[in-house]
């Protein structure tokens, strides 16, 4: 089988597993959990693109995840309130709907904002930062500080954002009861489909000329300038795409899990996403997705057995991967495959004569 055909076959097999086998075999609440992992995998896919392909170690994807999540949640809160103030605002003593909230009463605006707001934020940040040639560890620290600042802002403005509690208690999701099993099932399929579509789009981007240029920027930004390209543009575009993906992930997370709050998008959740991508294999988009699903599954199962232990295991795993297998699980798989290929006798390059071995003498 050619590598290309093998790639499609693998994608189809995974698609079958996720869209048919999992819904038929998993109990409803496990399927909900898987839907949550798939949401996080969408954000991880964006990190794979920005970090693995573009070399931008973004430690603040939670910010974009949060922007998307809050955009969706603000619409749901306004819809539930039906013209009145959302419940938490009344509790915080807010008397009039803040201007920031008004556009989100319109579902079309809210859904557009899920992508547009994170993308716009990333474009502004990228244009400022990449043009000034801020990169490497400095960029990583900057994005992490941004995640910390975002949480402080959300917590501090309780009347506007719901504070530490975030936005929760949704009663109507586009005409459905968000808690109902049928809605949850639908959301699972929606999330899985969106992830699949975004994965294919990201793969196309990586294989395009732009993707080659992105790798070139990662490996030799200064050299790329002398090929006539502006690396700042290439990085800003990629960063914006990854932010858009995080926004979509956050928006899907809201109906799937039923809440968006600062503790879901601060420094630690942002770092956990990056760790998951590293463990899965950052240089392959599939590695990022795999890492997010497996690490979050492991986190849930492990925490059910031993509540406080996961953080240690996650940290240890991260150190192991970074020191021993920087290409993650996908890298280990590729190494094993190549080692097997070497042990097998190589196919004869050019047969000198027609094959007659099979013919019995």
């Amino acid at each position: 089988m050619s590598p290309r055909l093998r790639g499609y076959a693998l994608f189809a097999a995974v698609g079958l597993l996720v869209l048919v086998v999992a819904p038929l075999t998993l109990p409803a609440f496990r399927l909900d959990e898987l839907a949550k992992y798939l949401c996080l995998a969408i954000a991880a896919l964006g990190i794979g693109l920005a970090w693995g392909q573009g070399g931008m170690l973004t430690l603040g994807q939670g910010v974009f995840f949060g922007l998307g999540g809050y955009a969706m949640a603000m619409y749901l809160k306004l819809h539930d309130a039906g013209g009145d103030l959302p419940d938490f605002m009344t509790w915080s003593g807010v008397e009039r709907l803040p201007a920031l909230w008004k556009p989100f009463a319109n579902p079309a605006v809210a859904v557009a904002a899920v992508v547009a707001v994170p993308v716009a934020a990333a474009v502004v940040l990228g244009a400022l930062v990449f043009r000034q040639r801020v990169r490497g560890a400095y960029f990583a620290i900057l994005t992490q500080a941004l995640a910390a600042a975002f949480v402080i802002l959300l917590v501090g403005r309780q009347g506007l954002t719901g504070g530490t509690n975030g936005l929760t208690n949704f009663y109507d999701f586009f005409g459905q009861d968000p808690e109902a099993e049928s809605t949850q099932r639908t959301m699972y399929f929606v999330t899985a489909t969106v992830l699949g579509a975004l994965y294919l789009a990201a793969r196309q981007l990586v294989r395009s000329r732009f993707g080659r240029l992105l790798v070139a920027v990662r490996d030799g930004e200064d050299r790329v300038r002398f090929l006539g390209y502006n690396p700042a543009t290439v990085k800003t575009v990629t960063f914006a795409v990854s932010a858009g993906m995080a926004g979509i992930a956050g928006a899907l997370f809201v109906p799937v899990v039923g809440i968006i709050s600062p503790s879901l998008l601060g420094v630690v959740p942002s770092l956990e996403l990056v760790v998951a991508v590293a463990v899965g294999g950052r240089y392959a988009l599939a590695g990022a997705v795999l890492g997010a699903v497996v690490m979050n599954y492991a986190k849930t199962s492990f925490s059910e057995q031993w509540a406080g232990g996961w953080l240690y295991l996650e940290g240890a795993l991260f150190i192991l991967v970074m020191t021993l297998a920087p290409k993650g699980a996908v890298g280990l798989y590729e190494q094993a495959r190549d080692a097997l290929a070497r042990r097998r006798p190589a196919p004869a390059p050019v047969p000198d004569r027609p094959k007659t071995e099979e013919v019995p003498a």
């Binding site: 196309q204 981007l205 294989r207 395009s208 000329r209 732009f210 080659r212 240029l213 790798v215 070139a216 490996d219 030799g220 200064d222 050299r223 300038r225 002398f226 090929l227 006539g228 390209y229 502006n230 543009t233 575009v237």
Partner: protein, 249 residues
């Protein structure tokens, strides 16, 4: 001089109080092959860095086909038609030889078309690949290339850019004899159709392939002329061999 492609006037570059270039004038005409030589620290690479936008001068002007270059950003200068190589060759190791060349040929493409996958080999890329003779390695990652092959790939990337002026920074540094000869042939071939400025240390290479030479010394132009004149000049012998210092003392 209306025939000048590159015109440098009164160029001065200062690094933390050290004057690397001090009032350099240089004119390179259309179609010329110019060698730039001089001892270590003479300012040869600094001169190229200023032309390509990597270093900002303290004073002076660099004009390319009538356009002032100082203060422009690197990629803008490339887009005007100036290409360069570096002393330590930088090729993109994870990309194939063909992809490296395709990238170099592509900066004129509008951004949306970059989102498509490459189909086939563009003419400029095929021509560059042919010129540098790496056709057999086209689909291998550039990381597997030898030092010499990398330098040729860099030169190929430069040709694929289709620049009007090529600046080569020590193209034969670290090369074996065979590789030098191949590079010299390549240089002669390229110079037929392009304006080229070569910074070089290697005197033997210079004797074989140079015609017009500019000698830099301590940030100033010492001598300019053809190879024989320059070689015969006592000041050049002095800076290269340190001879005459005792006589002068």
């Amino acid at each position: 001089m209306s025939d000048a492609l590159l015109q440098i006037r009164g160029l001065k570059v200062v690094f933390d109080g050290f004057t690397a270039l001090d009032g350099v004038d240089l004119t390179v005409g259309h179609g010329e092959l110019r060698f730039l030589i001089g001892p270590n620290g003479a300012g040869k690479t600094t001169l190229i860095d200023v032309v390509t936008g990597l270093t900002r001068p303290a004073a002076g002007s660099v004009s390319f086909a009538g356009t002032e270059l100082t203060g422009r950003r690197e990629h803008r200068i490339v887009r005007l038609g100036i290409g360069r190589t570096f002393q330590t060759s930088v090729v993109f190791e994870e990309l194939t030889v063909l992809e490296n060349l395709d990238l170099a040929a592509g900066f004129r493409r509008p951004l949306p078309t970059l989102l498509l996958r490459r189909r086939g080999v563009p003419d400029a890329v095929a021509a560059a690949l042919d010129t540098i003779g790496l056709g057999a390695l086209a689909d291998r990652p550039a990381g597997v290339l030898s030092h010499g092959q990398r330098q040729w790939l860099e030169i190929g990337m430069l040709i694929a850019q289709r620049p009007r002026l090529l600046l080569l920074d020590e193209p034969v540094a670290g090369m074996g004899r065979g590789e030098r000869e191949r590079t010299g042939e390549l240089l002669t071939e390229i110079a037929r159709e392009h304006t080229v400025v070569v910074v070089e240390h290697d005197m033997e290479f210079l004797r074989r392939y140079a015609s017009q030479v500019t000698v830099l010394h301590e940030g100033r132009v010492l001598v300019e002329g053809d190879v024989a004149t320059v070689q015969a000049d006592p000041r050049v012998q002095e800076v290269y061999l340190g001879r005459g210092r005792e006589e002068a003392a």
